[in-house]
């Protein structure tokens, strides 16, 4: 099981455990790691676990997906210790070895990131948010469950989002 460790911002050192399936990073609601920064495309990049490592693929993002300080043009295999930058956030692939930045790792945070099935917040200086989507495995769209919120900021964003959606529907 692969893990990403946040390397920048206020939440440096926090760990995101990836599931054994392809996940998307982007601004889209369904993204496994969701960022609200305008520097991030709706579907920015995908991460797919393979036997050889974690396969990163840019999904035609506006600003590109950067691995080890280089914009990737094709599918790129990430190894533990590799750096992945999406918009303003830099991640390090921890993978199957002890994380280099374990000093900043918080067991509680690890717990709620890996166990929680609800939105999780990572506000940083650039107002970027990372949340775990809750229903990626569902084959068909299911009714949206009553969301649980980890913070006031997250609940506020949800209300504002629903307000904007209601305006678009009019």
């Amino acid at each position: 099981m692969h893990s990403l460790i946040v390397q920048t911002g206020k939440h440096k050192g926090k760990k995101i455990v990836l599931p054994e399936r392809e996940v998307i990073i982007g601004r889209d609601e369904t993204s496994f790691i969701r960022m609200t920064s305008s520097d991030v495309s709706r579907q920015h990049c995908s991460l797919t676990p393979t036997d050889k490592g974690l396969l990163a693929r840019d999904l035609g993002s506006q600003n590109g997906t950067i691995v080890n300080n280089a914009k990737i043009e094709a599918e790129t295999l990430l190894q533990p210790g590799d750096l992945l930058q999406v918009g303003p956030i830099l991640f390090e692939l921890a993978g199957g070895r002890p994380a280099k930045s374990a000093g900043g790792l918080d067991d509680d945070i690890f717990g709620w990131l890996s166990e929680s099935d609800t939105a999780t917040e990572f506000p940083n200086a650039s107002d970027t948010t990372i949340v775990k989507a809750s229903q990626l495995t569902a084959a068909a769209p299911a009714p949206e469950p009553k969301p649980k919120f980890k913070s006031l900021a997250e609940e506020a964003r949800d209300i504002i989002r629903r307000h904007r959606e209601s305006l678009e529907g009019k």
Partner: protein, 188 residues
């Protein structure tokens, strides 16, 4: 103030002098400033949470009109922070959001009144006076001279009940039953 002549003198401390308007839309901000200054209020405009907190420290407003959709920090968070510092500062939410969840959250972060846009200017002026008076009356009832030893009682969404000291109002704790964060309510 414009209606000083007919106000109950016992409510004099509730009279508003300085209003902080937190509004990022320049047209709305200008409209509010013009309206309020016509009523002899001293008005400061803040475009976001950062400016709001700076103005709060420097200008010491005695009333806040707060939009919810702001760049960066939302009005909910601004309200919570202001109320953490000055819990009896009257805060009137003025927003286009009509969702019940928004009104509920506004109450939870301590807002004293909630009005939706578009608004009737006269109704806003009336609401400012009423909200200020209610906040002042409540501050008298809950002031340190009151019974601060009575604990605050509230419940988590999971049903777990809590009883904590009043000094913890506005703080968040983790529910030992469900693990969710729970805000200790600012008001009964």
């Amino acid at each position: 103030m414009s209606t000083d002549g007919d106000i109950d003198p016992r409510l004099a401390p509730a009279i508003v002098h300085r209003i902080l308007v937190v509004e990022d839309d320049p047209d709305t901000a200008l409209f509010l400033k013009t309206l309020l200054e016509r009523e002899k209020y001293e008005v400061t405009i803040a475009k976001d949470g950062g400016q709001a907190h700076s103005s709060f420290v420097m200008k010491k407003p005695d009333f806040v009109i707060l939009d919810l959709i702001l760049p960066g920090e939302s009005g909910f968070e601004v309200c919570e922070r202001l109320k953490t510092v000055e819990r009896f500062l009257p805060v009137l939410i003025l927003t286009a959001i009509e969702l019940d969840d928004s009104k509920n959250l506004a109450v939870r972060v301590g807002a004293d009144a909630y009005m939706t846009k578009p608004f009737d200017p006269e109704e806003l002026l009336l609401q400012i006076k009423q909200t200020a008076q209610e906040a002042w009356i409540r501050s008298r009832a809950e002031s340190p001279d009151g019974d601060e030893t009575v604990p605050v009682r509230f419940a988590c969404r999971c049903g777990k009940r809590f009883k904590v000291a009043r000094q913890h109002r506005g703080k968040t704790l983790t529910c030992p039953n469900c693990g969710e964060p729970v805000l200790v309510p600012r008001h009964e």
